[in-house]
């Protein structure tokens, strides 16, 4: 079976040469640590993923798995200190952004890669109108006049289906409802027509009906504009309808990557299995919810071997000794489990 094991790291363009591989955005063996007074937390330990135009990649993981930190590093908005990139590349159109000048990088933000944040209320500036914050980009980045920028901003508000966009232009964020605020946030991030959109838990702060509306809107805009969309979430339910591929993160690593159908049908990592099992089900009403036992590892002291082994129901002695690399299994999926083959081939 070893002949089909192809390491992610040996794919073309992944040799660190920065040779264009035709991918839109690639994260390659990214490593980030947080240096705090209490010690060094290894938050990202070799994350590799990519997204192409018109494609939706969902990054799934629990709090502290490193999904947001990866996105912040891609965006170049990681708080340094305490966060430091210690290795890897983030390539946009084949060019490593981590070695670019600050000015070059700034130009990519908004136009090349844009981001939507989780809590739109705190992510929008409370003392400026929503319209100002959208129009600002047209004025500063595109050099448009105030009047033209306003016109374009109202168009953007219209596109994200905010009713009475013209009247809403001069409202402040606190005068918007939660759903409308997130729509405004989306309008702002799409203003400069980015090629990649990173949505960091865009619906977490919203109630369920509004969540669905926002996800539909995002999916629609992504299709229209043929953007690459990276959807960061901890909610398996959100992901199922919109994602093409899913990358599952645990302790700063990708532990499994697959298309949506394969992942749900036959997870190739015990952690993914645990996540899917813990979705509440209608046919099990009244029973206790299933959980994954134990807690995520302390990132200052990640256990040797597979970081999931203390919580894993299938753990064997080898799991405490050897860190399983993320290996291709089959055509379009990868898993970082010693027993991935067994999991996929089971009935």
């Amino acid at each position: 079976m070893s002949d089909i094991l192809v390491s992610e790291q040996s794919k073309p363009g992944a040799d660190g040469s920065g040779r264009p591989s035709g991918r839109l955005l690639e994260v390659e063996d990214l490593r980030v640590e947080f240096r705090t007074r209490d010690g060094v937390a290894k938050v990202i330990n070799g994350v590799t993923y990519h997204v192409d135009a018109g494609e939706t990649l969902a990054v799934l993981g629990e709090s502290g798995s490193g999904k947001s930190v990866t996105a912040q590093t891609v965006m170049g908005i990681l708080d340094t200190p305490p966060g430091f990139v210690t290795g890897g590349q983030v390539r946009f159109h084949g060019k490593d952004m981590l070695t670019m000048s600050a000015e070059e990088r700034r130009r990519i933000r908004g136009e090349g890669i844009a981001m939507i944040f989780q809590d739109a209320l705190s992510a929008l500036n409370p003392v400026f109108t929503v319209g100002f914050q959208i129009a600002e980009q047209f004025r500063i980045r595109r050099g448009l006049s105030r009047a033209d920028a306003k016109k374009r901003a109202i168009e953007m508000l219209d596109q994200v289906k905010i009713p009475n966009a013209k009247g809403r232009f001069s409202n402040y964020p606190h005068q918007f409802s939660g759903g409308m605020r997130q729509r405004a946030m989306i309008a702002m991030s799409l203003a400069l027509d980015p090629e990649v959109l990173i949505a960091d838990e865009p619906t977490t702060a919203l109630d369920v009906t509004v969540q669905a509306q926002i996800m539909d809107l995002l999916a629609e805009l992504q299709r229209e504009r043929q953007m690459g969309l990276i959807l960061i979430t901890h909610d398996l339910g959100v992901v199922a309808d919109v994602a093409d591929r899913i990358a599952v993160m645990y302790a700063g690593r990708i532990v499994e990557e697959a298309n949506v159908y394969d992942l749900y049908a036959k997870p190739a990592h015990p952690y993914t299995m645990g996540l899917i099992d813990s979705i509440p089900r209608m046919d099990e009403r009244g029973q206790q919810l299933r959980t994954i036992k134990g807690l995520p590892p302390n990132l200052m002291n990640i256990p040797p071997g597979c970081p999931f082994n203390p919580r894993c129901p299938m753990a064997q002695p080898v799991c405490q000794e050897k860190l399983p690399p993320l290996l291709q299994i089959g055509a379009d999926r990868a898993s970082a489990c010693h027993f991935a083959e067994d999991l996929v081939n089971r009935d």
Binding site: R107, G110, M115, F117, V127, E136, I140, S189
Partner: protein, 308 residues
């Protein structure tokens, strides 16, 4: 907004009456004889004392005196001193000087304090940060007369960089040193408040958003970060302007500025009750209006605050 303003203005009425009466009563109860020493070494002649007592109603009860005073005040008459000088004149001569000094002090507070605060808030724990922290600690700890006399002696006398006192023309160049002395403590507070505020907001989500939008750093800091961080600083400056306009007895004294602070001090010493009360009445009014202005400014800076 209109209702709020009206309510605030109406609130001024009882506060105004209360403070004026309190001041009147305090000055009235100060022991001593206003005519002692008025006539050189000798005791003043009875005819003079009787004349003055009647003219100023000194034998009347405090209620009558206060009522008469208020009646005249509403007719625009601040009263006259025992030396037959109109109190309104004294205020008109002294107050512009105080205002000039206050404006210079406020400008120094705002410019130096804010710049120091913003720079150190952005780069904490550097050399500049420590320098500002230590120097502001000194300025806050030292009484104004120490700062005043030391700087006057060093800059004005020993090194001769500036004129040690202020002439009657009140030139701007002469006012810089007194303005600095007067504003020094508040400047230190402004620097510290601005530093904390900037440092706090620097990691705010909306600053991260502004960076993620690809805005240039100077716009992220100068527009998004500064506007939010200014709110507490402006409040501080506004309240301070009210205090500065109340005159600066010590600073005016050190630099020989003929301002309202010295005028009121002289009036207290010579028991010119009409002068004391009139000046204080003006100061109270100015202070109340300044406070109202700060509250309105606060709402203008932070749209989340609305008055109704």
């Amino acid at each position: 907004m209109g209702r709020y303003l009206l309510r605030r203005l109406l609130q001024l009425v009882p506060v105004f009456i209360g403070t004026t009466f309190l001041i009147y009563w305090l000055v009235w109860s100060v022991p001593g004889d206003p005519f002692a020493g008025k006539c050189g070494d000798r005791r003043c002649p009875d005819s003079y004392i009787n004349f003055m007592t009647e003219k100023y109603q000194l034998d009347q009860s405090i209620w009558v005196q206060y009522a008469t005073y208020m009646k005249n005040l509403f007719q625009g008459d601040f009263g006259i001193t025992f030396n037959n000088r109109a109190v309104g004149d004294i205020i008109a001569t002294a107050y512009p000087n105080t205002l000039k000094l206050a404006v210079v002090a406020l400008a120094i507070e705002a410019i130096i304090g804010l710049s120091a605060g913003v720079l150190t808030g952005l780069r904490r724990n550097g050399f500049l940060d420590n320098l500002v922290l230590v120097s502001t600690l000194f300025l806050i700890a030292l009484p104004v007369f120490v700062v005043g006399f030391v700087l006057q002696w060093l800059l004005g006398v020993k090194w001769g960089i500036v004129h040690p006192t202020v002439s009657n023309e009140m030139r701007l160049s002469e006012l810089l040193l007194p303005g600095f002395v007067l504003g020094s403590a508040s400047m230190a507070y402004v620097a510290r408040v601005a530093r904390t505020s900037i440092a706090e907001n620097r990691r705010a989500d909306y600053v991260r958003t502004a960076i993620a939008k690809g805005l240039p750093m100077r716009r992220v800091v100068g527009v998004h970060l500064l506007r939010n961080s200014l709110i507490p600083v402006v409040t501080l400056l506004g309240t301070d302007l009210g205090a500065l306009m109340g005159g600066a007895i010590v600073t005016e004294g050190i630099f020989g500025i003929n301002g309202i602070g010295r005028a009121v001090l002289r009036a207290i010493v010579t028991k010119e009750s009409a002068t004391v009360v009139s000046i204080v009445v003006v100061l109270v009014l100015v202070y109340l209006l300044m406070n109202l202005l700060v509250d309105l400014l606060y709402a203008a800076l932070d749209p989340r605050i609305r008055y109704e």
